[in-house]
Structures are given as structure tokens and as C-alpha cells.
Amino acid sequence: MRRTRTHVFLLGALMLAGCGIDPVRVSDRVSTRDMLLGVQALDDGVAAAIDVRVNSPIGTVELTGGDALFVTVDGSRRPMVEGQSNGAPIYSVKLDALPGDFLLDLERQADRDVHGVVVEVSSPFALAGGGLTQDLPLSLSWDADPEGGEVVISVQGDCVAPLTRSLDEDTGALVITQAELRPPPAGPPSAPCALEVSVSRTITTRDKLLSTNPGGNVTTSAEQRRTIAVTWTP
């Protein structure tokens, strides 16, 4: 009996001390004006996905109470589906492709809505590659888009150390000599090996959600990525 009383007392003391207070991260408790929407979109040439995370001063937020996100891609409006990523809620839509800019809407039952957030996406492109035989360098070409954002080329495979190049300007072409393809620490390959070469074009933006102050923020990162396979015989 005495032990039970002790346990009840300790439990009460712990409750009073506020142990385990954790922010209740539901959108009902967060003002639209305090929200930070993080939009990530990727079209890899095979399929596309749009992911949105909702952050706030109290952490990542789960949309509750009828609050919802929608995207309008190529004239078609779709609701975003809730999932989990690293233990936090994430809202996603799977698509066949990202043909261009799309719109994001946040609809709230007891707060301000946000409609028509434009997420800029660079135009789709095709990637071609050749060379890497005898002494020929790797020659890459794609459809240039001067306003398509940051361009990054990467080469990876079992026989090379990962290589990454960023272009200041989207020229639509790049040549990588064999000397630039460094073997991995394990040593140079002795047989033909497969390489994966990808070109990605990413547009990132940061803007306010609303014209008020504070007005929330939306950050977007939309990537068009194309990957081809090439064989290299050193």
C-alpha cells in the first residue's frame, strides 16, 4: 500500500514537472501566416513525384481538421496524400511526368487558404551520350534551357570515384575526358564497366505565402533529371 502511494506520488510529480511535453504538431494549432511549405518535385524521365512538408515554429505539422494540400499539374487538380518520411508527415502526389510549372493550393477550414502558389519547373529534356571508347572522351548533349535553373552533371559507377560538375550556364553540352574519371580507391578497373551519367536541372525559389507580415514562406525545388548508361573500358 505504501509502495503504491509512493508510485502514485512520483507519477503525479512527474506530470506536474511537465515531463514529456512535446509540441502537438497539428495544423489546427498553427497559423497559415506561420507556416513554411517545403516543396520538392522530381521528374527523372520515368516518373515524377511532388512532395510537400509543412513546417512551423513548433516543428513539422500534420494537416488535420479538414486542412488539405492540392496540386494542379497540366490543368488537372489532385489532392496530396499524407505519408511519413523520417517520422514526419509528408504530402505527396505521383505523376507520369512534370511537363512544366504547377500550382499548389493549401485549403484550411479555420484559417486562411493559400491558392495558386506557382512552382517553377524547367522544361523536360532528352539526354544523349557517346564516346568513352579508346581515347575518346564522354560527350553529353541535351536540350538547353537558359532559364532552367542550376545544371549539375554527375557520373558514378563501380569503376570510378563519383564525379560531379556544375555549370554556370546551361550550354546543353559537356565533354568529360577519361583523365577526369578517376578510379576508386580500390584501384582501376581491368574490364569494361557500366557508368550512370545524369544531368539534372533544378529551379529553386523562396517566396512568401501571403502578403501579410509575417506571411509564411514557401520554398520550392523542382528538378528535371535524366540518366543514361554508358560503358567505359579504360
Binding site: 506536474l16 511537465g18 511535453i21 497559423s31 506561420d34 515554429p57
Partner: protein, 225 residues
């Protein structure tokens, strides 16, 4: 002529009311149901609730507070008196800070009785001055109105119970706030122990919503008179 009569009638009525409230005799200090109460006390409390972050986000928070308090409730006249309270202390929250409050009220004693349990009821209206509460509102000093009520029960000469309630609406820069303060104590001779709870409500933000803080903690004191 008509105006003059109305003025004289009003003055006579006010004089009659003052006479009724002040009575013809002082409250006797030896009277077990007398309403005067002078006290010194210390009070500690744990707090938990929601504070506002940004434009209108409910953010859970908690903390503690510790105060020394002096309260004087005195009745120079039978039904009419005054109630003064001063407190100084610390509030430990993310905005941890010094806290000081003074409050004063005109007090009325509409009921006092003798019987198997002597007792009295005191009501008061006045105002206060101190830092804004809860502390997350900021650290501006502010004045505010006050209403109070106190029930005192004396089942024996050496045993005293009293419960007091204070309501203080405080208008911050944005929206409006109010605090409900309830204290229940029981004492023997000069000493008393009790429990004091407070609810601080603030309605503000975009969207406008309620930010509520609960306080609860023990109080211990000494009755001087």
C-alpha cells in the same frame, strides 16, 4: 427648481448609502467573524499551457514561479474597507523574469455571521499595476481593473479557512487577456497552508484564438491580524 430638487434628492441618497456602508461602529478586532485579514505568505507554482508564437501558433510551454506576498484587508467601517496585495517574485519560463504586482480594491463586507461556524464574505472592486501576464505577452508594465471575493470560515477560534478569488482583465496590445486566481487555505492559529491556482487566458492572434496557461502550487503564510 425641479433640477435643484433632483440634486438634493440624489445627494441625500448617496449620503444614506455611505451611512449604511460605513455603519455606526467599527469592526471589533476580537470578533471571531471580523473581516480584517493581514497576511504574509510565500507561494510557488508550476505552470503549463500554450503561448503564442508567430502570428497565431499555439506552442506548449511550461515553467514555474515563486513569490513573496503581502496582503492587507482592513475594514475601518463595519461594511466598508480596503484590500491591498503586493507580490514580488520570479517566473521561470523561456522568458524567465522578475515579477512584481500591486493591487488595491475598495472592499465591501455584505455578509458576516456568527453561529456554529462563524464567517464572512468580502467583495471588492479596484485595480492593479504590474508586468503583463502571462510573461510571453512581453515585459510591459500595465494597469488593470480587479474584482475580488473572499469567503472566511472560522469553525473554532484557532482554526481559520479562507478562499479568495480574483479576476483581473488585462488588455494587452493585441486582443484581450484575463486572469482567474483562486486560493484555498486552511490554518491553525497564526499559520496557514493552502493551494493556489490561476488561469491566464489571452485571446489574440491570427486566427484569433485562446492561449491558456494553468498555474497551480502550494502557498504557506502567516496571519498577522
Amino acid at each position: 427648481m425641479h433640477e435643484g430638487r433632483r440634486f438634493i434628492g440624489g445627494a441625500a441618497g448617496a449620503l444614506a448609502l455611505v451611512c449604511i456602508l460605513t455603519g455606526t461602529e467599527d469592526a471589533r478586532a476580537g470578533d471571531p467573524s471580523h473581516v480584517a485579514l493581514w497576511r504574509l505568505e510565500v507561494h510557488g507554482a508550476y505552470l503549463q499551457g500554450d503561448q503564442r508564437l508567430g502570428a497565431g501558433t499555439l506552442a506548449p510551454y511550461n515553467g514555474w514561479g515563486f513569490w513573496g506576498r503581502v496582503g492587507i484587508s482592513e475594514f475601518p467601517w463595519k461594511w466598508l474597507g480596503y484590500d491591498v496585495l503586493a507580490q514580488i517574485g520570479m517566473v521561470g519560463t523561456p522568458q524567465s523574469t522578475f515579477d512584481v504586482v500591486t493591487e488595491g480594491a475598495v472592499a465591501f463586507a455584505p455578509a458576516r455571521w456568527k453561529g456554529s461556524v462563524d464567517g464572512s464574505i468580502v467583495l471588492g472592486v479596484g485595480g492593479g499595476f504590474g508586468f503583463e501576464r502571462p510573461v510571453w505577452l512581453g515585459r510591459g508594465a500595465t494597469g488593470y481593473p480587479l474584482v475580488l471575493a473572499r469567503l472566511t470560515l472560522l469553525p473554532k477560534k484557532s482554526i481559520r479557512f479562507f478562499a479568495s478569488f480574483r479576476f483581473t482583465p488585462i488588455t494587452p496590445e493585441d486582443g484581450w487577456g484575463r486572469a482567474y486566481d483562486l486560493e484555498v487555505t486552511g490554518g491553525y492559529k497564526w499559520w496557514y497552508l493552502g493551494l493556489r491556482g490561476r488561469i491566464d487566458d489571452v485571446t489574440q492572434g491570427d486566427p484569433e484564438r485562446l492561449y491558456r496557461t494553468y498555474w497551480l502550487g502550494p502557498t504557506a503564510g502567516l496571519v498577522i491580524r
